[in-house]
Amino acid sequence: MTTPTIRVQSEDFDLQTEIDRLVAGRTDIGAVVTFSGLCRDEGGSLNALELEHYPGMAEAEMRRIAELAVERFALQGLTAIHRYGKIAPGENIVLVIAASPHRQAAFDGANFVMDFLKTAAPFWKKEHPKDGTSGDWVPAKDADDSARDRWLTPRTE
């Protein structure tokens, strides 16, 4: 079975480099879908987000989710990278790459991994405002639970 690539790192990543690693030397992959999540600053008041994680468990949860996706969508390759530490607006936070012979499985695989990663991987975001005040922890969103739960209902696809 395909072994997912899982990394938790403070450095940024390069999408093309990560895709090249996944498809190198192969000619059986027809579709590659990537999701990258970026640090967003709606109001222009954010200096950075600080990403805290549970070392060891973060990698283990990401691997567990990735393996579920590989099996469910018969993926040929899966990469999941999550950054930690301070991340400025506009910078990358997370990357998921799913590869498959056909496009819908690649879309679904990447989408599935993101939905579970949001709700199960032990990462937390704290806001560091530009004004130097002590920022808030980003609250969890019910919408993220709903997005995850659609994968748990009986399959109609």
């Binding site: 999540g37 990403l51 805290e52 994680h53 549970y54 060891g56 468990m57 973060a58 283990a60 949860e61 999550h82 936070i93 997370v94 993101m114 990663l117 949001k118 709700t119 199960a120 991987a121 032990p122 990462f123 937390w124 975001k125 704290k126 922890w137 980003v138 609250p139 969890a140 993220d144």
Partner: protein, 85 residues
Amino acid sequence: MKVKLVYFAWVRERIDKPEEEIELPAHVVTARDLLNHLKTLGDGYEAALQYPEVIRVAVNQEHVDQDEPIAGAREIGIFPPMTGG
């Protein structure tokens, strides 16, 4: 039983330490029992665990429901809902 507790995000900030080892009293059987026990240990714990139903618990780095027993745990993680991705 001695167990290592690790805290994250605002749970860590309110308890004001990233981790500690504690001796578990005999009446602490489930993850929920543990949270209720910790709440009695001082103001920081009280503030961190004020709404225990939102708190997530991991035993040996795996998510558990709060009504699961924690016997045999080497490390218990206690943290708010995750907000990564």
